[in-house]
Subunit: 205 residues, 2 copies
């Protein structure tokens, strides 16, 4: 089948199918994606000249578009920052198998970049000085990225030790709570700490 009357594929369709494929199988191969789409692997390159990497970046954009705040609004900076961080983490947690691919690759998706830019603008408007703003964004970014990794593979799943004396294993068993829920609670506590302290340090940052 050569060129059809209407295109068989679109960038959105490809990115969407790729995300679904990763969510279900945990792997992302061009042949696999082509199979799902019912086309040949080479035809994907017509829509994504950048190949595999560009598709992953498109998925990042798809995820960012879902609920990451990308425009400053009239909420106070704490509320905006909370929303930004929660959206980031929630999205990653919903697609754990996508996380390693997203963190392995430099961010170029404009919507994700807009999210960082919006956060920076909100902090600037709140009186954070240049360097302090940068530290604040970096610290929040680090915590959110790490939390995304933790959401994808919580401490609990690999730190369970058979040793009954293990302080970590013991605490995990004592906590008796679903790993995802616990990971989420840790995130909320950490986020609260950071926003609170960054606010207090703000000008002296």
């Amino acid at each position: 089948m050569p060129r059809p009357a209407a295109p068989l594929l679109s960038r959105d369709q490809i990115a969407h199918a790729a995300l679904a494929l990763v969510d279900e199988t945990g792997t992302f191969t061009l042949p696999g994606l082509a199979g799902v789409l019912g086309v040949s692997a080479s035809s994907i390159y017509h829509h994504f000249p950048g190949g595999r990497e560009a598709i992953i970046e498109a998925i990042r954009g798809h995820l960012a578009a879902a609920d990451l705040p990308t425009v400053p609004d009239d909420r106070d900076w704490q509320t905006f920052t909370e929303a930004w961080a929660r959206a980031y983490r929630r999205t990653f947690a919903q697609h754990p198998r996508m996380v390693p691919m997203l963190t392995a690759q430099v961010v170029s998706d404009p919507r994700t970049l807009a999210g960082y830019e919006a956060l920076a603008k909100v902090l600037r408007a709140a009186g954070f000085p240049d360097e302090g703003l940068l530290h604040a964004v970096t610290i929040l970014d680090c915590f959110v990225l790490g939390s995304a990794l933790d959401a994808a593979a919580p401490l609990g799943v690999w730190a369970e030790s058979p040793d009954p004396d293990s302080a970590l294993g013991g605490a995990i068993r004592a906590a008796r709570v679903d790993p995802e829920l616990r990971s989420q609670r840790s995130f909320e506590i950490g986020l609260g700490i950071l926003i609170d302290s960054l606010g207090r340090l703000r000008v002296g940052l």
Copy 2:
């Protein structure tokens, strides 16, 4: 050349060569590694039946052995936690190209696990209750992992916008400081905040 009198390879040698290969080239392939070692790719499997994944885990162990505290000592918990977090981040920052491979894979290396266990023991001895201890370790882990990613690919390298109005780009240009140094300073500030706040919350965590 069949089996030589003395083994040509050892696990340590293989892991060391693999790390050097990643540091230099940014890629890790079995054929590439075999080439550096002067053996055939298949011979590596005799030392690492677990293949590629097991070699990466051995590298993790090699890195953890370097300076990660893996045994509780008599320092106060803040000092121990600082040392643990700094060692973790420093090691990753020294091998940025290794970071994506290390974060993409579940931790099974015993020395790294011992590091988490030691941290948990120190916190328990300092009076952190079970669940609070878990949150503290998780929060620190998230921040350290995220910082490792940031050290490998600092915000600054991809958030530089040509837009002169960009709050983030402007702050980065205004900061006028080496990205690795800035990343490090952000880490220190964030770590200070977390240790301080975790200490204050401790029992109520």
